[in-house]
């Protein structure tokens, strides 16, 4: 990997991803995912939605996993682990109606702000790619916002481009 590679060399534009304001419902987010990705046959990695406030500041991100987690009925969510043995999930046979049931439809009316992952970590366009890689690994992220002068949201850098860059350096003769 070239030492001089900066975040701006790998970042992609924010309009590659759908935008929603924080007050949109999960139901609306689901429809947007379907229209923007599935129907349009676009499968970016990760499939994510960017969540903004009313002044167009980035608040967080929403991946498919976050949406499904938001729709999961409460009774299926793991309870806090006290002194109980590890669950044996091998025999867990859940039928579809039980997994995502009527309660899920009600849960889908909640605002996306309730289930988004808040954007806490950022990089600047001139930061080295290694900084983005470090933050992603350290905080288990697949997408990192790029802010200009710590304010203006100008792009995102994704795990896939970072992986490509690092893996190129490793396999290079």
């Amino acid at each position: 990997m070239s030492d001089s590679k900066a975040v701006k060399d790998l970042m992609i534009g924010i309009f590659e991803y759908p935008h929603v304001p924080y007050w949109f419902s999960i139901n609306q987010a689901v429809r947007i995912v379907r229209a923007s990705f599935l129907s349009a046959k676009k499968y970016p990695e990760p499939m994510a939605i960017l969540v903004f406030d009313e002044k167009y500041n980035l608040m967080g991100t929403l991946t498919l996993k976050d949406i499904l987690r938001g729709l999961e009925p409460r009774f299926l969510k793991p309870s806090a682990k006290a002194q109980v043995p590890e669950e044996d999930e091998s025999g867990l046979a859940i039928i579809w109606d039980t997994l995502f049931n009527k309660e899920s439809k009600e849960l889908a009316e909640r605002a996306v702000s309730e289930i988004m992952i808040p954007a806490k970590h950022f990089v600047e366009p001139n930061d080295p790619v290694t900084k983005a890689a470090y933050l992603m690994l350290r905080h288990d992220l697949v997408l990192l916002p790029v802010l200009e002068n710590k304010k203006k949201f100008v792009g995102v850098i994704r795990m896939i481009e970072i992986f490509d860059e690092i893996s190129n350096a490793i396999i290079k003769e």
Partner: protein, 245 residues
């Protein structure tokens, strides 16, 4: 020379319409001069005769061009926007002189075309829209709640404009040269939702007037606005003037 973009979602005749309109507005094609023949336009823009005809028909219908039997098609003196008076900005829309107007921008952000917004703005479901919500006040009294939707690609820089002190309509027309040539207005009675009622200082479920407006530049939808007015102190005024013959 601007060419047709076949990757663009817009229909070819609309793109051609816009290109020719721009040439007229920029005086590249001067008033009174003859435009190229259909065949020449087909060659210039690599489009079919049907596309050229539809674009020319639309420009003729809107007063940009005039057809003369056996002679050809000529640029007209007046474009439609000069002939039709459209009072569409907040001040022009509603009120008498001597009142103090102000605007609170409650939201200006970017959304996706949910519900039927994509159809209303004629954009694909994966294209972004600028969403603006404004509370309009007269003499400090909230009177109008306005939600505006503009396809992001029409005017990306709108996100940075001062729309609290400037008319959105004027910004689009004067600063970005987006001429609004047609507005479709629909007025209906509605009932205020909880949040809207709170903003307008009225009880929830109060009767209100809803004005929905579809703004076009040529045949291209460029803006969709919903205005809710709860107070009975002020009226909507939509003043249309027939174009001089």
């Amino acid at each position: 020379m601007q060419l047709i973009d076949r990757e663009d979602h817009q229909k070819l005749y609309i793109q051609l319409y816009e290109i020719i309109k721009k040439k007229i507005e920029n005086n590249e094609w001067e008033v009174g001069s003859q435009i190229p023949t259909e065949q020449e336009l087909c060659k210039m823009f690599n489009v079919s005769r049907a596309t050229v005809r539809t674009a020319i028909l639309e420009l003729t219908r809107l007063g940009f061009l005039k057809r003369q039997q056996g002679k050809g098609t000529f640029i007209c003196k007046k474009a439609i926007s000069e002939g039709l008076t459209m009072l569409t900005s907040f001040r022009e829309l509603m009120f008498e002189e001597g009142l103090t107007f102000s605007t609170n921008v409650l939201a200006r952000t970017v959304i996706m075309p949910v519900d039927d917004l994509g159809i209303k703005l004629d954009i694909p479901q994966d294209k972004h829209i600028i969403y603006i919500k404004r509370l309009r006040l007269v003499d400090s009294e909230p009177v109008l709640l306005q939600e505006t939707y503009i396809p992001y690609h029409i005017c990306p820089l709108l996100l940075e404009e001062d729309i609290e002190h400037n008319s959105l309509f004027e910004v689009l027309e004067k600063k970005y040269g987006i001429k609004i040539t047609k507005v479709k207005n629909y007025v209906e009675v509605t009932h205020l939702k909880k949040d809207d009622a709170r903003l307008l200082g009225l009880p929830e479920d109060s009767a209100a007037l809803l004005l929905t407006q579809h703004f076009y530049s040529g045949e291209t939808p460029i803006m969709y606005t919903c205005s809710v007015k709860g107070s009975d102190r002020f009226k909507f005024l939509i003043d249309l003037e027939r174009k001089a013959a």
